[in-house]
């Protein structure tokens, strides 16, 4: 089974599934919404989550979803966790660039996610020239993960500057890294497997903005074993989500 742990509904679902089918991707985990909003209001957060909920309801065998949150609105975030995860079909939450995840609000959220046994998909960049004001770095995530060892995090994009990103989170065994959202640079997956172990690496694409093919290439093209590829492509997400 191939599970894409990181997609966004920025193209029509039929079109996305057409290309997913051509790449034999079985399940796609949605987050954010059809338009990216860096600092969404509570109403915009709910609209994104309702949008993805409908896709999961229409295509229950293909789409899973993370609830979008803006941690600047802590009470709303906790209510949205209840609405989407406790009462609904969502598998976890997505934290993008509204607030650095080192903030105390994210501690409260991470604690609740651990209680639910759900996932946190956290965008991370080490951006040359400096991150956006609310953009988390791998170091921010490592600090949060240290404080919440019972919470499972997926560090998105390997931190972009991935040699530095991967080395930042070696010790945080509750952090997995995904493969998505940056160019298909040779060596990424080998280094991730060498430093973290294949059980801590999951395939993701960042589609529809990224090509499924370019991101799958990081797994298919890596000099790792076939069993490691199988784990990264879907085995690890199957295990974590109990699919």
């Amino acid at each position: 089974m191939i599970v894409d742990c990181h997609v966004h509904p920025t193209s029509p679902p039929d079109q996305m599934l057409h290309y997913a089918d051509r790449m034999s991707i079985d399940k796609l985990c949605l987050s954010l919404g059809p338009h990216f909003i860096q600092q969404p209001t509570p109403e915009q957060v709910e609209a994104d989550n309702d949008f993805n909920r409908r896709l999961v309801e229409v295509y229950p065998d293909r789409f899973l979803a993370y609830a979008n949150l803006n941690p600047n609105y802590l009470e709303h975030s906790l209510r949205e966790i209840e609405r989407c995860l406790v009462d609904g079909p969502f598998i976890g939450i997505k934290l993008w660039v509204a607030m650095r995840c080192d903030h105390a609000n994210c501690d409260v959220i991470a604690e609740r996610i651990a209680e639910l046994g759900a996932l946190v998909l956290q965008h991370t960049f080490y951006r040359t020239g400096g991150n956006l004001a609310g953009e988390s770095s791998p170091a921010d995530l490592a600090a949060l993960a240290d404080r919440h060892p019972q919470t499972t995090f997926i560090m998105a994009h390997g931190g972009l500057n991935w040699e530095k990103g991967l080395k930042t989170v070696i010790e945080q065994e509750n952090i997995l890294v995904d493969t998505c959202g940056f160019d298909p640079e040779m060596g990424y997956t080998e280094m991730a497997v060498r430093l973290l172990g294949a059980e801590r690496v999951v395939y993701g694409s960042d589609g529809a903005g990224r090509s499924f093919a370019s991101q799958l290439a990081k797994v298919y093209g890596a000099d790792i074993t076939e069993s490691e590829k199988t784990a990264i492509l879907g085995g690890n997400m199957e295990r974590i989500l109990g699919l």
């Binding site: 160019d183 060596g187 903005g209 990224r210 090509s211 290439a217």
Partner: protein
């Protein structure tokens, strides 16, 4: 037959690369059924005198018929014209690459116009590398913006016999060119950096599939990326796929000199 129109040999200063000598590169490309590759010297990009890389690259590639070397020239450096003539007439190069951003000039500068004129006279083809790596993670002491392409349509129109290839151009670089380059037979677009689900299919049809060149940017990129885009993700007819994988490259070479 698959021709990779964008492969690299040598060392990149900011990351250790594997498969970066001719033998290992060809073996790595063969894993995804790529038979031939047009190669540049990664070392040349950051040399002050870039021409120092051209003779060694030609010598290295001469032992491997599957490789076609592409020279590097900086038209703001003294004696570049003499160097380019040497590349064509003594070293046997058919194509030459420019790095306007790394070598700090604009496409609209007179030096680049002079460079195109000489390449045209020599019946060579010209490659313009829009970038080499993602700007968002450049080394902090070497942040190099992508090449600004607004002047390209006028230059391509001025030299209608000269084949000009855009290398490592992303969707955001290419979309503004769709309209102003419509019908220009001498412009070619290498596809390694085209992204989005089905991106090569969608953007390629807008640019004209007959001008899309298959390229991997290996070994900096996994070559599987380009292969999977063209042969699996995108829905191309057999004829379209053959054109992208090798046919268009052959037509480009035929439109340049021997």
């Amino acid at each position: 037959m698959i021709v990779d129109a964008n492969a690299n040999l040598g060392n990149w200063p900011f990351r250790r690369t594997s498969y970066n000598d001719p033998k290992r590169l060809l073996e790595r490309l063969a894993r995804v059924d790529i038979d031939r590759a047009w190669v540049v010297s990664l070392d040349a990009v950051m040399y002050k005198n870039v021409h120092a890389a051209n003779a060694p690259l030609a010598e290295m590639a001469a032992e491997y018929p599957a490789l076609m070397p592409v020279a590097t020239i900086n038209p703001t450096f003294p004696a570049w014209e003499r160097d380019l003539v040497e590349c064509k007439e003594s070293l046997g190069y058919r194509g030459v690459r420019a790095y306007p951003n790394y070598h700090q000039y604009e496409l609209g500068d007179p030096a680049f116009d002079d460079f195109l004129a000489v390449a045209d006279d020599l019946d060579m083809f010209v490659e313009i590398a829009v970038r080499m790596t993602d700007e968002r993670h450049h080394h902090p002491l070497c942040m190099v913006p992508p090449v600004e392409l607004a002047a390209l349509p006028d230059l391509a129109a001025k030299y209608p016999r000269l084949p000009i290839m855009l290398i490592n151009a992303k969707n955001t670089d290419l979309v503004p060119l769709i309209e102003p380059t419509e019908g220009m037979e001498n412009l070619w677009f290498e596809m390694s950096h085209i992204e989005g689900t089905g991106g090569v299919e969608q953007l390629g049809r807008s640019l004209g599939l007959e001008h899309i060149l298959f390229g991997t940017h290996a070994p900096y990129y996994y070559p599987e990326s380009a292969i999977l885009k063209v042969t699996r993700e995108c829905e191309f007819s057999e004829e379209e796929q053959e054109a992208i994988l090798y046919g268009n490259a052959g037509r480009l070479l035929a439109s340049a000199g021997p």
